[in-house]
Symmetry: C2
Subunit: 320 residues, 2 copies
C-alpha cells in the first residue's frame, strides 16, 4: 500500500441523489460527492457514472480503496442486488454488486438504508459498546435495522426488520404497501400530517392548523406550533408518541434491546416525540423488561449517517 | 474417558415435576427419571435432590457427564439464575447454576423452556439446516424462542422472545402479566377456552358447547367437536387462527424467519389451528416476504422436547 491512506467508499443510493463518501479508519469522511440518481438510460449506465465518481474521489489524494458499501432501498445483502425498489426508476432485480465488481476488485456489500444506518451506529456512532439495539429511521416512512447478539439481523430473505410495516392499528390507515394500519402510516413525517388531517374535524382547541392551510404545512411546522404551545399540535404529537410507544413495548418483547436509537427529521422532535414515546413504552412494558431499555437519538450526524453506514457494511468484515 | 459413553444431562424444571434425561451424541435419551418439584423446604434442598437423581442416572451405566443444561421458567442464561418464576414455590432470584456447580464440575447452562425447545429443534429436530426460525410453544400460555443468523436471541436482559406478550388486540383481554390484549390470552389452551366462553352468548349454531358444560370442557374437547363438524367449535378455532396468523405476519416483518415451528398440546390441532393460521399469515404478509416462510409442527417428540432442548443448551458449545 506504500503509505497510501486506506479508505472505504460508502454509497447512499436515494431516489433523487446518490451520495459517495470516502471513509477512513476513524470514521471520518475525507472526500464526498454526489450526483443525480435519475436521468441515466439504464442501470448499467448509472453504475458507469457511479464508478467514474468513485475514481475521481480516489484520485484527489493518495487513497487505497479497501471496499465499497452501498445503502439502497431494498438492497439485498445475500444476492448483492437491489430488488423492486419503488422509488428507483429501474424496475425488477438490479445486479448492483456484480456490475460494480467489474470496475473495482474489492469487497462490495449492499443492504437497505436502515440496516446501513444501524451498522453506522454500531461502528462509528453511539452503539459501539452495545450488542443489542434497534435503529429506527424516521422520514417519509419508518425504516429499521436490528442488531442482536452483536450481529445485524438479515433473516432468511435478507429483508428482516421492516418494523414500519408492523401493524400498529388493526384495520387502520391505508399503507402504500397495500395493507392497513402499518406503523409508518402513523409514525413518520407523512403519518404526523395524516393524523393532523384526521383530527382537524374533531378539534376544539384554538390552533394554527386548519383545513385551509393543512396542505401547505409540514410535520416540522406542526412541531414548531407545538413548541409555541398550540394545544392541537401538542395533541397530534401525543397521539403519535402513544402509538410509537406501544409499538416499542412490543419490539422489546421481541428482542430485549439495550437501546433503541432514532434518526431522521421527525426524531428531532426529541421532547415531544421520542421522550414522550419512551414514557408510553415504559407504561406498556412487560415487567421483566422494566429498566432494561433506553431510548436515544442517534449519534450520527444528519448528512453523514447514510455514507458512514454504507462504509460500515464492508468495514465490519475488514481488520480495522 | 476410558470408553465411557459421553452424555449431557438435560433438565426440565416445571411447576409440578422435574424431569432429568441423559442425552447422548446422537440426541437419544439413554436414561430418564423425574421427581416432584414441590415439597422441598428450600431451593438448596431441591438442588440436593436434583443432584442425587443425576448421580443415580449416571451410575446406571458407564456414563461420562460433559455438561448440564436446564430449561426453567424465567431461566437467565447470563446469570445462571431462575428469576421471579410465578409457578415455582421459591421466590426471588435463585442461583441455580451456582448451586449445581458445587456438585458437578461441568459446564452448566440455564434458560427458559421455550428457548431450550428452540435449541432442541436446532440441534436434534427439524431446524438442523436453518439459521432463521421461531419456535412457538403452546400450552396454558404461549412461549417462544428465536434463532436468527444461527444464534439463539437472548437480548440485553436474557429474556428476549416473549412473543406471548406481544399485544394482539389493543385493550383486549386481561392477561396474567397485568396488561391487556397479550397474544397468549387468545392463542393458547386457556385462550381458546376464553374465546369459547366469550362467543357463547352470540352463537346461533347448534353446538355441543354451552354455558352449562363450558367449565367442564378443555380446548382438546373443542377441537374434537370441531372435527365432528360442530360449527361453533370450528368458529372458535377460526377466530384463534386468525389472531395467530396476523401476529405471525408481524413476527415475519421483524425477523424474516425461514420456518416457524409449533410445539405443544394446541399445536396438535394442526389443520384447524396451525395450517389455518398459516393461511391468515400469508394473507397479511408484506409483499417482500411472500413465499419466504413456512409453518411446521415441531420435529421433537412430546415427552422429549424439554429434556433434549435443555441438553442442547450445553451441547451447542461442545464439540460434538
Amino acid at each position: 500500500m506504500n503509505g497510501k491512506k486506506r479508505v472505504t467508499a460508502g454509497i447512499d443510493i436515494g431516489g433523487t441523489n446518490t451520495v459517495i463518501g470516502l471513509v477512513d479508519k476513524a470514521g471520518r469522511i475525507t472526500e464526498k460527492t454526489s450526483f443525480l440518481t435519475k436521468d441515466h438510460k439504464t442501470f448499467k449506465e448509472y453504475i458507469d457514472v457511479l464508478s467514474e465518481n468513485i475514481n475521481a474521489l480516489l484520485k484527489k489524494s493518495e487513497y487505497y480503496l479497501d471496499g465499497i458499501g452501498i445503502g439502497a432501498p431494498n438492497g439485498n445483502i445475500f444476492r448483492g442486488t437491489i430488488e423492486y425498489a419503488a422509488n428507483l426508476e429501474w424496475k425488477g432485480i438490479l445486479p448492483a454488486a456484480e456490475l460494480i465488481s467489474e470496475k473495482f476488485r474489492v469487497p462490495i456489500k449492499i443492504t437497505n438504508d436502515a440496516n446501513a444506518a444501524a451498522l453506522g451506529e454500531k461502528i462509528f456512532g453511539k452503539a459501539v459498546n452495545t450488542d443489542n439495539f434497534i435503529m429506527i429511521t424516521l422520514g417519509t416512512g419508518l425504516g429499521s435495522g436490528i442488531v442482536a447478539g452483536g450481529s445485524l439481523i438479515y433473516g432468511h430473505s435478507g429483508f428482516a426488520g421492516e418494523l414500519g410495516h408492523i401493524i400498529a392499528e388493526r384495520n387502520g390507515r391505508q399503507c402504500g404497501c397495500g395493507r392497513k394500519g402499518c406503523l409508518e402510516t402513523y409514525v413518520s413525517a407523512t403519518g404526523i400530517m395524516k393524523t393532523a388531517k384526521e383530527l382537524i374535524p374533531e378539534n376544539k382547541e384554538k390552533t394554527f392548523i386548519t383545513e385551509k392551510n393543512i396542505n401547505t404545512l409540514t410535520s416540522k411546522d406542526i412541531y414548531d406550533f407545538a413548541k409555541k404551545g398550540d394545544k392541537f399540535a401538542l395533541r397530534i404529537f401525543d397521539y403519535t408518541a402513544k402509538i410509537l410507544g406501544k409499538a416499542l413495548a412490543d419490539f422489546v418483547a421481541f428482542l430485549s434491546p439495550e437501546y433503541i436509537y432514532f434518526f431522521g427529521g421527525p426524531a428531532n422532535a426529541e421532547d415531544l416525540l421520542i421522550e414522550s414515546a419512551e414514557k408510553y413504552m415504559n407504561k406498556n412494558l412487560l415487567n421483566v423488561y422494566k429498566n432494561t431499555v433506553k431510548i436515544e437519538i442517534s449519534g450520527l450526524k444528519h448528512g453523514e449517517a447514510a455514507v458512514l453506514g454504507a462504509a460500515a457494511l464492508v468495514r465490519q468484515n475488514l481488520s480495522v
